[in-house]
């Protein structure tokens, strides 16, 4: 790499000029960080990543074309050096079924119900939470607000609450005679069937997840706000921009990468929803109206022991979420950045 660079500097060819133009277009200085260095920085993460995530992910794909018949004890490969021996056993007994697991998905009504529930929760929860987190972050970033540290800590606390404990608390609060309905009825509003109506039970999940994750996303946005150059606000002030205009034309564009991060990870988080519906709604009640995809996958894998079918479900979920993330990243302007 290095020798090529020095040679090309002596006699610039058309290809070098083209490269230079391309680099200037992408706002990068020539020679800035090229070649092996990037790989070296990436190596430790990549190594861990390949062994502990790459293998399980690919093995899950492999499983999705098979029917699981049980755990295997059959030795695939072994050696014995006396002082050191190694035995690799086959992981599972499997029967090849081709695409059957995937075709079965098309007529699985419970899967469709789970997909609908998750999408419904997603469409309400993610915009609500991101908007709230953004407003909190901007408000807490304002220079006049006092006790910032206290508020920041308080708002970010829910995510530290234990999953089992907080779900139990929401279960108790949302009872027909629970705290929330007590407050509602005492100010003259009708009580709401939070856990027994299919619409409101989804809203309970939305509320619980929003309560837990808003502060967390606010922290991320707040960190992003710190990297917005102060000069941009000063320039906007000189141009007589109002508070809202500064928010709209400085904060939002500057925050776009981080905002995008929050939207994408929240969407993904909603698709991974599992423990809350299990504890709060007792595994999908009422009438499977809150069963989520991951919960369904979990049931299929660990209760019915249909690991092959569960793996196929996983891969469909991966496809759906990848597609959605790709769309969000493109709409959010990652493509041209």
């Amino acid at each position: 790499m290095a020798t090529q660079d020095t040679a090309s500097q002596a006699t610039p060819t058309a290809r070098d000029r083209l490269r230079f133009v391309r680099q200037s277009v992408s706002h990068r200085l020539p020679n800035a960080g090229e070649g092996l260095v990037g790989y070296l920085f990436l190596l430790p993460a990549l190594l861990v990543f390949t062994v502990f995530l790459g293998f399980p992910i690919l093995y899950t794909l492999y499983l999705s074309f098979f029917r699981f018949e049980g755990v295997s004890n059959e030795t695939v490969f072994w050696f014995d050096l006396g002082f050191f021996s190694y035995e690799l056993t086959r992981i599972a007994d499997l029967t090849f079924v081709g695409l059957n697991n995937y075709t079965a998905l098309l007529s699985d009504s419970l899967f469709h119900q789970a997909l609908f529930n998750t999408t419904f929760i997603l469409l309400v929860q993610v915009p609500l939470m991101v908007a709230l987190a953004l407003v909190f972050a901007v408000a807490l970033n304002a220079s006049f607000v006092r006790f910032k540290g206290v508020f920041r800590t308080v708002l970010a606390l829910p995510v530290s609450a234990n999953l089992v404990a907080y779900s139990t608390v929401f279960l108790l609060m949302m009872q027909d005679a629970g705290l929330v309905n007590y407050v509602l009825t005492s100010v003259g509003l009708p009580a709401i069937p939070w856990l027994t109506s299919s619409f409101w039970s989804r809203m309970t999940i939305v509320g619980a997840v929003t309560w837990r994750w808003t502060g967390y996303n606010m922290i991320i946005l707040l960190a992003g706000l710190q990297t917005v150059p102060q000069q941009l606000y000063e320039a906007a002030e000189i141009d007589g921009a109002s508070r809202f205009e500064k928010f709209r034309y400085v904060t939002i564009p500057q925050l776009r990468p981080v905002l995008l991060f929050v939207v994408v990870t929240s969407t993904i988080g909603t698709f991974k929803l599992f423990s809350e519906p299990v504890i709060i709604n007792g595994g999908g009640a009422p009438l499977d109206s809150t069963i989520t995809i991951v919960q369904y996958i979990y049931q299929t894998a660990f209760i019915d022991f249909r690991l092959g079918y569960a793996s196929a479900l996983t891969y469909v979920l991966i496809a759906v979420v990848s597609l959605l993330s790709a769309v969000q990243l493109n709409v959010g302007g990652e493509g041209d950045a």
Partner: protein, 307 residues
């Protein structure tokens, strides 16, 4: 001018009102967990009206939590049987048995080691993706991004089989290593490190800085607030990890979520003990927030380079 100050006052009022409302709504369920932890279980379950005043059964509940034979929540001094005889006296050397870890200490230990390891891996990878050009950069980045969507629940079986093949079952490494190269962390670091001006790195290069110095002398210090945010994310991720520790760890090594889950029995849910454990498990997080608080300073990159 007066119009402007009035408008400013309205904004300030709105901001405060919003933040206060949010803080109150956030604290209610948390406060409830706390109150429940101080009440006798019967007392807590029998009242339909919300209780706002803490009771005095906290220690009693904590004792009943600690008295459970199978799961130790807070550890205790260990029995040290290993020592060196110097002739003039004994010196104990087996530090690992000075204190038998309970679930609380286990969780803290695992989360701290995981956070430090992962911060290094993620920031290095993020720096590579943000500031270097190399072959297969985009495909690799999108491959890592794609793994964000994997429900961890589903990796449990292949991961367990993998861990047993390499002899890491019932080891804390088994719950630290798999997500050490956290895709979320890599994504976050990459997004934030893009804001480091290329000109800044280039001028450091001209001054003779090595590529690794660019990383730890320029990239890391400018990313302090992002690193602090990421540290919180990573710590909480490990803190809340549930299903895989449940599968891979055996009794005596349980982390908090697994330990608390032991309190939800098929016949009986130990509300009082759950709430005590939950209350105690929030304390380390508050400490973490307070420690990292200072890192959230504004305008680090401002004025580093004249554009």
């Amino acid at each position: 001018m007066r119009e402007e100050t009035r408008r400013e006052a309205v904004w300030q009022f709105l901001a405060y009102a919003f933040i206060l409302l949010g803080a109150v709504l956030t604290l209610v369920p948390l406060y409830w967990i706390f109150v429940a932890s101080t009440l006798d279980e019967q007392e807590f379950l029998s009242t339909t009206e919300p209780r706002l005043i803490p009771g005095d059964s906290f220690l009693q509940n904590f004792e009943s939590l600690q008295a459970r034979g199978n799961v130790q929540f807070v550890g205790h001094p260990g029995e040290m049987t290993q020592y060196v005889d110097f002739g003039f006296g004994y010196v104990y050397y087996d530090v690992w048995h000075l204190w038998d870890l309970g679930a609380l200490e286990s969780s803290i230990f695992v989360a701290v080691v995981y956070t430090l390891l992962s911060l290094v891996l993620c920031s290095m990878a993020g720096f590579a993706f943000a500031k270097y050009e190399f072959r297969f950069k985009k495909p690799m980045f999108y491959a890592i991004l794609a793994t964000l969507i994997l429900p961890i629940q589903l990796l449990v079986i292949p991961l367990f089989l993998l861990m047993s093949q390499i002899g890491l079952t019932n080891s804390y490494w088994a719950i630290i290593l798999p997500w050490a190269a956290n895709p979320l962390g890599i994504f976050l670091m990459r997004q934030n490190m893009r804001s480091i001006p290329d000109a800044l790195l280039e001028s450091a290069r001209m001054d003779g800085a090595t590529e690794f110095q660019l990383y730890y002398k320029i990239a890391l210090p400018t990313m302090k607030s992002s690193l602090a945010a990421l540290a919180i994310i990573l710590f909480l991720f490990q803190w809340n990890l549930f299903l895989f520790p449940l599968v891979i760890l055996e009794q005596g090594k349980y982390t908090i979520p697994v330990a608390i889950n032991q309190l939800v029995g098929a016949q009986r849910v130990y509300y009082d003990q759950i709430m005590v454990a939950a209350t105690l498990s929030i304390i380390p997080i508050v400490v973490l927030f307070l420690v990292l608080q200072k890192q959230f300073v504004s305008g680090i990159l401002a004025g580093s380079v004249k554009e």
